[in-house]
């Protein structure tokens, strides 16, 4: 097994913040449009499905204890095919990271800094993310653990303050058949955010036990948090207003003013949301970087960090055309795209492994044996590519 460097609780917070990440920014208007007054139910059933998907990943990981997703691909499929799958995963993580960066710059240019070009934000955030990735997963997990209380308490406090305009009548009539149909038709939630935590499989080998339980708990907590936030937004703003806003959570808080003393608290929510997004970006950056490093085993790390950053800086402005195309994409393709990488490839890897086990072969034996390259360098120091632990596969 890989060196244990992060605790279960740290992994739990990482999962929660990764799932919440950009969701509160991007998804709420389309979520409320689909589910109307009952849209707070969507994250709950989405989260339940997300926990079900996570069982697949946990099963796969238990067959290859101590190996990350890239290493599992190499061990299960052999070097040529495994390299193809790992490279596709690198592209997938890069595409999600591109979305995250683009959402971030769209928010900043749309609210706080309208005259700053998007690539400026992309490059600045990528510089910090690459530094964190170079330091390793332990740094990312500790930073996240440190930030979580600083994010959670102000966030819920601000949301609580924003409920001054609360009106229960905004929820009635509840549970109408047509709105419930809309709730369960909204399959985007399955892809984004609940199929994206497949990226966390790159961190699995470094977690100190209870990995599966923490992943499940993290997804459940994130689903409950998103649901509660949507509930607060509907109760305070109503369905009509929410669907017409680009960033309802920001607008909700913007309207809060307590006796001319507590004003402009939207800056608090901006910082919280930016930090959440940054945590997601960090994990995705780390996943993309480590996928390439463990697959191709370069000797030096900084050229790879530079290359990954250059690609991500190029993906972010190119990922979507505009907001309308983005919402069309989310509605029609998000689930299909995320399902290929969140369900399709893990199911393929699992099927190959089970067939090999049934045939009496130890999965990974003699194929992709170098897959474990440098996995112990989770702290980012002293990476000895190609000389890491050998994969202990076969569950």
């Amino acid at each position: 097994m890989g060196a244990t460097v992060i605790r279960g609780s740290q992994f739990y917070f990482l999962t929660v913040n990764f799932c919440i990440g950009t969701t509160l920014f991007v998804l709420i208007p389309s979520l409320v449009q689909a589910g109307g007054r009952d849209s707070w139910l969507i994250p709950l059933w989405g989260g339940a499905c997300g926990m079900f998907f996570a069982l697949l990943w946990i099963w796969l990981y238990r067959l290859y204890p101590g190996l990350s997703l890239a290493q599992i691909s190499l061990a299960a499929l052999g070097r040529p095919l495994g390299t193809v799958v790992a490279t596709l995963y690198y592209l997938h993580f890069s595409v999600i990271a591109g979305f995250v960066l683009r959402n971030l710059s769209d928010f900043l240019t749309g609210t706080i800094l309208p005259k700053t070009p998007g690539p400026v934000f992309h490059i600045m955030f990528l510089a910090v993310a690459s530094y964190a990735a170079a330091q390793g997963v332990e740094t990312i997990a500790r930073l996240n653990q440190l930030l979580t209380p600083l994010l959670a308490f102000p966030f819920w406090f601000v949301i609580l303050l924003a409920t001054v305009n609360w009106d229960w009548s905004r929820f009635v009539p509840a549970f109408q058949p047509e709105t419930l149909a809309g709730v369960f038709r909204f399959h985007t939630i399955l892809g984004f955010p609940f199929l994206e935590p497949v990226a966390l499989l790159m961190i699995f080998p470094f977690v100190d036990g209870k990995t599966g339980r923490m992943l499940m708990a993290g997804i459940a907590t994130a689903a409950a948090s998103i649901s509660l936030t949507v509930f607060a937004i509907i109760g305070s703003l109503g369905v009509e207003r929410t669907t017409k806003m680009t960033f309802p959570i920001y607008s909700l808080v913007q309207e809060v003013a307590v006796n001319d003393v507590i004003i402009n608290i939207q800056s608090v929510i901006s910082i919280i949301l930016l930090t959440l997004i940054f945590i997601k970006l960090q994990v995705l950056y780390y996943a993309a970087f480590e996928t390439l490093r463990q697959t191709f085993r370069p000797v030096m790390r900084w050229p790879l960090l530079l290359g990954v950053s250059m690609v991500l800086a190029g993906i972010a402005p190119s990922i979507i055309e505009n907001g309308i195309q983005n919402s069309e994409w989310r509605k029609n393709f998000t689930f299909a795209h995320d399902a290929i990488f969140g369900l399709g490839f893990p199911a393929l890897l699992l099927a190959v492994t089970l067939i090999r086990l049934a045939a009496g072969k130890r999965p990974g034996a003699g194929r992709g044996v170098q897959a474990g390259a440098g996995a112990r360098s989770a702290t980012g120091k002293g990476a000895q590519s190609g000389s890491g632990m050998g994969p202990r596969t076969g569950g």
Partner: protein, 71 residues
């Protein structure tokens, strides 16, 4: 466009030459692949006609669905 080429080639070229001088062909090949990918993306951005990645993925998904019996 000239400005883009002026900053891109010195940066990517210097790193590539450094890796080759250090006799790290694997590192150089990986960096070269990433540089080509980023050049393609940045070339579109510099010309103000970015390659929209979601359109490409969309076409790929449609292609896969067309191959399936239910597609």
């Amino acid at each position: 466009m000239v400005a883009f080429n002026l900053w891109f080639f010195p940066v990517a070229g210097a790193v590539l030459v450094y890796l080759l001088v250090k006799r790290l062909p694997r590192d150089a090949a990986l960096f070269f692949a990433l540089s080509v990918l980023s050049y393609v993306l940045w070339y579109g951005i510099a010309r103000d006609q970015p390659i929209i990645i979601t359109h490409l993925i969309e076409q790929g998904i449609r292609g896969i669905l067309a191959l399936l019996p239910m597609g």
